[in-house]
Amino acid sequence: MIGKVAITGLGYTEFSAGSPGTSFRELTYEAAAKAYNEVGIEPKDIDTFVCTSEDFCEGYSISDEYCNDQLGAVLKPVQTIPGDAIHSLAVGTMLVLTGQFDIVAVQALSKLSNMKTIPNMVNFAFDPILNRPLDEHYSYVSGLAMNRFLHDGKATREQCARVVVKNRANALQNPVAAYAADLTLDNVLDSEPVSEPVRLLDLAQVADGAIVFVICSEQTARSLTDNPIWVKGVGWSTDSPSLESRDWGNAVSTRLAGDMAYKMAGIKYPAREIDLAEVTDEVSFKELEYIEALRLFEPGRAGLALEDGRTTRGGDLPVNVSGGDLGVGHLFEAAGAQKLMEIVLQLRGTAGSRQIANAHTGLAQAWRGEPTTSAAVAILSNK
């Protein structure tokens, strides 16, 4: 990357299945206040704000108009990204690199407990003429993708279930995770079938929560904190929306987003240079699909790596130590922010009982969920 950009402040709420009694504004305010306090700044010190929201999730048209107050962004330059929070980090990073903005706040929020008809909302993301008339629950797309993935020999059904066991157990060490659980493989394999081969426990459950980052230029980062986490590279990509002709079983957009970020970060051998990764596991098999697409494991080897314990907390390339979407909760557009947050905590050495030793470079990847093909990747480092 041309210049250096760092994540200096981080604030977050706990993640929970619901947050009754707290408005979406109050949730973001809590995260923002914590992030700004961490680096001793106030909104007047912040040059511009990047928010993350999707109108249908929020239940507001032009929901970006409702993001300012709780960030201290009233009458300031502010914009909203209707994408994943990693897209927002990429935008924030570019704003700093222009040299016109020194300190940028990046926000993401999930208040999905307030959205009472999620299947209807996701159905609205499908092509109205070609796909919606079929009237299927959106998980069928995951079923199609998982079946193709298994058919192509990318992993076994048991390995996919093992992702769920690992990640929900990882969440037991994460005090803000919503869905920590001690499960067995049989719990997953015998859970209620949804859109086979996808079963109930293969799917992440919705959670609420807010996350705010403060990012800034190198000089300012060094004056604000002793432990800046550098944004080494960002990448993003979207495949054709067509369900009829996308490359099933191959996460092409994640592959390209990863390659873009690696190139920017100067990473030639991801499997050796990345110390830990947080990737989408909204549906169990996605974790295996993505870590392969991101070149962290050889094709067809991700499931074996999981069985060998290489992606567990004590392994040589831990994946979703936070608990992932399965353990922390499915945060929709804020998903990438939770992944970035975990990498930041790990690279700072402040991840508590789930701290990974000697972590220097981490990768965060997010996919925007069914039926999208949008992926975004960020590479962070403490060096």
Partner: protein, 186 residues
């Protein structure tokens, strides 16, 4: 869609073409439900409306008494400090005479207009108030700066909503004089 007196070039598509299936379309109505958590500040605000009272939240740094209340001051960037009751009277900051319903259908001639107004509430800081409607008033006699008072639903009918106030009516004068004239309120 008929364009009235405006004439455009080309062959116009008519509603009847669509109705007769000459042009294929697919209609779908979104079925989306939300239940927004009102939170600490707005939760208390609505609770007090149910009690027939208007409550604000004060920031001791800038001194603003804010309606609708909020748990943080968006200008000072700090938690707000105390609850303050306000009066249910105020001043019309601005208003509009609406000849259309929310869906853009026209209000039939002779029926009351909608009279949305921004009411600056007595006891709150300048610029703070309630967006509501005016009633029991002759639309021609509404003035910016006019003093108004909340007309509440009966206690048993209130449900913790801004519609617990039916409308604001003039404190004096400008009252509706004749039943024949257009008047506000729903």
């Amino acid at each position: 869609m008929e364009l009235g007196k405006f004439k455009l070039g080309g062959t116009q598509l008519k509603q009847s073409d669509i109705d007769r299936g000459k042009v294929l379309t697919l209609a779908q109505t979104p079925d989306l439900e939300y239940a927004w958590d009102d939170g600490v500040a707005i939760g208390r605000y609505l609770e007090e409306l149910k009690n027939g009272k208007i409550i604000a939240r004060k920031c001791n740094k800038c001194g603003r008494i804010m309606i609708p209340p909020r748990m943080f001051c968006e200008l000072c960037w700090r938690a707000t400090d105390e609850w303050v009751y306000c009066k249910d009277t105020g001043t019309v900051n601005t208003y509009s005479l609406c000849h259309v319903n929310w869906d853009a259908s026209r209000i039939p001639e002779g029926e009351p207009l909608h009279l949305p107004a921004l009411i600056h509430i007595d006891g709150a800081s300048p610029g703070m108030g309630i967006l509501h409607v005016l009633g029991e008033v002759d639309p021609d006699r509404i003035k910016i700066g006019m003093k108004v008072k909340a007309v509440w639903k009966k206690p048993g009918e209130r449900e913790g909503s801004i519609t617990d106030i039916m409308h604001f009516k003039p404190l004096r004068a400008a009252r509706k004089k004749s039943k024949k004239k257009k008047s506000g309120g729903r």
